[in-house]
Point group: C2
Chain length 325, copies 2
């Protein structure tokens, strides 16, 4: 028995080594398998992560965010082309925190992305994080680490939806683009709700449409009213018509300028530290949550007393923690 | 010193008693103060919650969700009027998980709500939960408990934004309305991304517009393809033109029908148990997170080693937990 187990463990280890080799070589199949393992919170992740750790730290992560309809996918596809033209290998991670589906369900719709589908220097992947133990703050950096180890120079992270999750994803990016477009009643309104302050670069897409100029003025005013101090990066506004490829080169150059400024000021390093902090904390809390759930019957009994009004939730939480150890 | 401290503690306790009296009497000022305490995670919350616990369990909570622009605020305002006509006291809680602002910033825009602003049987409040220690899963039930203790018959919870937070809020409601509208490119697309499965009642608002019939057909097909088994509640579709008050009475009646069915099947009780479970777990995890953050320097040091690639995040999380005890 013991020797069979040892053999099994040995062959599992060999499988992991092969996967790691595949990721390092940038093989799409290996990358895809490991990101699926991230999604599913596979038991092998800690071992895999340890094996990949030495190859990480090189990718530049650009978050792309904005309300539905502003043209995130089109802009992402155009940026991929511009980055490819400058010789980079490019990864795209589309994060959908609310969807239980994954692995291309979303990207199936993305006609513009198909242009890049046969280019071996581009890897595109959507990821669902709903139900992931540690949530987005754990799953996204883990997936980014896979792209990083696979040697992609830039990884574009596109978020789906508006809200807390976008703010979380922005915290994981080295640079965050906030996209708005004229003619969307909720463009700036959505931006107001928290995403305005996370923008390093603002992109007014569909800038050939009516309403672009007032939108740019409104954005400029809001940026001026922001909390950024003198000496800090002042977010520029880039205008694009992504589906005609207009303004995309300027956008790519603006990202380069931002990157150089952040590296010079030390802010780049501070953000990466913040990302690591969030990930470590998320993993630790995920572990604690799993332990609390193992004592499921205890939680259920306490919750039922709270439901019935016999116990207040703070007292119940204290009892749960006391039982847990 | 000791007697001064005792006096201070005594006067704090007297303040809390007065607040609790105010909430029980339905005084807007007291309700507002306690909800601000919920938002800010005030130290007095456990004591307040214990004092209010006995008065809770009576309010019916209706979640109202949908993409920006479908008419959530208008529908909410119309429902408030319909519920008032049937003699109910009504609370409205607008939850914005991504905003750091609170206390009316959002509701200031809501002209339609001003109609109810002078009615003492209606209390309207927006709440930001960003930065709240336990997040939405803790703050929302705590706020709902305040409305409950204040004797509101129905509390309408309107969410802002699309995504994970809406799913979380739905988990807290006794009944969840999912709103869609024709002419929104992302109406069903947004609904697909997780919110379709949380709808107890679907509302096609702006149903006098072009595209309403195809939208209803599409919804009906998606509901039919859903995972609900025979004997389970089959979500009905109600058509409304909320800004003309059309369909609102039917919507109110559909909510009543749903409520009766859920109470008869025991599902109502199961959901409330789930809500209590989520809250207790959220409070316990919030407490653990606070403890991890107290050992801030430990987390920072580990995170910096992860950033530098010297340590993988799983190993860092394990070390953090080991230090925490």
């Amino acid at each position: 028995m013991a020797s069979t187990e040892q053999q099994a463990a040995g062959s599992e280890r060999a499988d992991l080594d092969e996967l790691v080799q595949g990721v390092r070589a940038g093989r799409p199949r290996s990358i895809g398998r490991v990101i699926s393992m991230v999604e599913n919170g596979a038991a092998e992740l800690p071992a895999l992560t340890a094996l990949l750790a030495a190859d990480t730290g090189q990718s530049y992560v650009v978050g792309i965010t904005g309300a539905p309809g502003v043209g995130k996918s089109t802009t992402t596809a155009a940026l991929v082309a511009a980055l490819r033209d400058s010789g980079q290998r490019v990864g795209v991670l589309a994060v959908d925190p609310s969807s239980p589906f994954s692995g291309g369900a979303l990207l199936g719709d993305r006609v513009r992305m198909q242009h890049h589908a046969l280019d071996p220097s581009v890897y595109i992947r959507s990821m669902a994080t709903r139900g992931h133990l540690g949530g987005l703050s754990v799953a996204a950096p883990a997936a980014l680490r896979v792209f990083d180890a696979a040697g992609f120079d830039t990884v574009l992270v596109e978020t789906v939806g508006v809200g807390q999750s976008e703010v979380e994803v922005a915290a994981l990016a080295d640079a965050t683009l906030v996209l708005v477009a004229p003619g969307m009643g909720d463009g700036i309104q959505a931006a107001k709700a928290g995403i305005l302050e996370i923008g390093d670069i603002f992109v007014v897409n569909k800038s050939d449409r009516d309403g672009a100029q007032p939108l740019i003025r409104e954005l400029r005013n809001m940026i001026a009213l922001g909390t950024r101090g003198p000496g800090e990066w002042q977010p520029p506004i880039v205008t694009t018509v992504a589906n005609e490829n207009r303004g995309i080169d300027e956008l790519r150059q603006t990202i380069d300028t931002f990157r150089a400024a952040q590296q010079a000021s030390g802010e780049h390093r501070r953000r990466r530290l913040g990302r690591a902090r969030q990930e470590v904390e998320g993993l630790a809390l995920g572990q604690l949550r799993a332990e609390l759930r193992l004592s499921r019957s205890g939680l259920d009994e306490l919750a039922d007393r709270v439901r019935a009004g016999e116990l207040d939730p703070y007292a119940a939480a204290a009892q749960l923690l006391a039982r847990h150890g």
